[in-house]
């Protein structure tokens, strides 16, 4: 059974899962409430949405997937960081290139 603690699925506890759930609900409720009420400026709302999304991804990784800095998770973490880099290049790169393209083609603002 000892092998099952390796490779990305360490054991959790009820307390950990409940904390994960509470944090998820809070970090979901904040952006929904902000957008629904429309009380803040668009730029600020956008920033808070992105912040809450990133925070919630980390909450899920820590509380539900039990990721931490342990050395037995090194390959999970390494591949994870690598994928974040690739995803950033694909998403931000696409947006960047296509915006310039649209600008040069005079298709929009």
């Amino acid at each position: 059974m000892a092998t099952q603690t390796h490779g990305g699925a360490a054991h959790g506890s009820v307390k950990e899962y409940i904390w994960g759930l509470v944090w998820s609900i809070v970090l979901t409720a904040i952006p929904f409430a902000l957008v629904m009420s429309g009380s803040l400026s668009n730029g600020l709302t956008l920033a808070i949405i992105l912040l809450c999304a990133v925070a919630q991804v980390f909450v899920q990784l820590v509380f539900f997937l039990h990721m931490n800095g342990d050395s037995d998770q090194m390959w999970n973490t390494t591949s994870g960081v690598f994928i974040v880099l690739i995803v950033a290049i694909v998403v931000l790169g696409s947006i960047w290139i296509m915006q310039h393209l649209n600008h040069n083609m005079l298709m929009g603002h």
């Binding site: 092998t3 099952q4 998820s24 957008v35 668009n42 949405i49 539900f64 390959w75 790169g93």
Partner: protein, 207 residues
């Protein structure tokens, strides 16, 4: 790099000698984790497409016309809660508690089903209102992104059924526990993707 070296560097020194063993949890889970990382790239391309096409409505309906945030909030709640209930099922499996495992898996399945039904209803509703997959570049990207996530949820539920059959047949064996751990990774991963979907598609769509 050989398997042994990978195991060694990852700290799996305890069972290098068991290399002939046909299924042990550490390698299987790491392999599944790498599959999930590759799935991230699939979703990244869909998100990039969506972002690039997020203003291309071809003069038709925009997301602000159709999205209902109350509806999406309930959808999100179902999926978030299912992530929690899957965690409880995992605890049941670790304690070898069959009743707890099956009960929480059943709840997770029901929540997943609820989520999927709401999504299908939403697709039907949008198409009915005149925003189908062929209406504009924006809606094509929308259905591709949200639909791919939905297909993953469906696959996860299908897998859950198969796994419950395995568990009912063989009990909570080491192999079934490994399979359950993989499904757990998959299910939490879908929740993480949904966080990006509701933030980027729904919340930003109505702003």
């Amino acid at each position: 790099m050989s398997t042994i070296e990978i195991q060694h560097e990852a700290g799996y020194t305890g069972y290098v000698s068991e290399e002939h063993h046909h299924d042990y949890a550490g390698d299987t889970l790491l392999g599944f984790w790498i599959y999930i990382m590759s799935d991230c790239i699939l979703f990244a391309t869909l998100f990039a497409t969506y972002a690039v096409l997020s203003g291309s409505f071809a003069g038709g309906l925009t997301p602000a016309d159709l999205f209902d945030l109350n509806f999406v909030a309930v959808e999100t709640g179902l999926l978030l809660f299912s992530s929690f209930t899957f965690g409880m099922a995992m605890l049941g499996a670790q304690q070898k508690n069959m009743t707890q495992l099956l009960l929480w898996l059943g709840i997770t399945f029901a929540l997943g089903g609820g989520f999927l039904s709401m999504e299908l209803y939403e697709f039907y509703h949008f198409s009915h209102e005149g925003a189908g997959p062929t209406s504009s570049a924006y809606w094509s990207a929308f259905y591709a992104l949200v639909g791919t996530h939905g297909l993953h949820v469906f696959a996860g539920m299908f897998w859950m059924v198969i796994l419950v059959i395995h568990i009912l047949k063989d009990g909570i064996t080491a192999e079934n526990h490994t399979r359950l751990s993989c499904l757990s990774l998959f299910w939490h991963f879908l929740d993480i993707i949904w966080i990006c979907v509701f933030s980027m598609v729904y919340l930003m769509g109505v702003m």
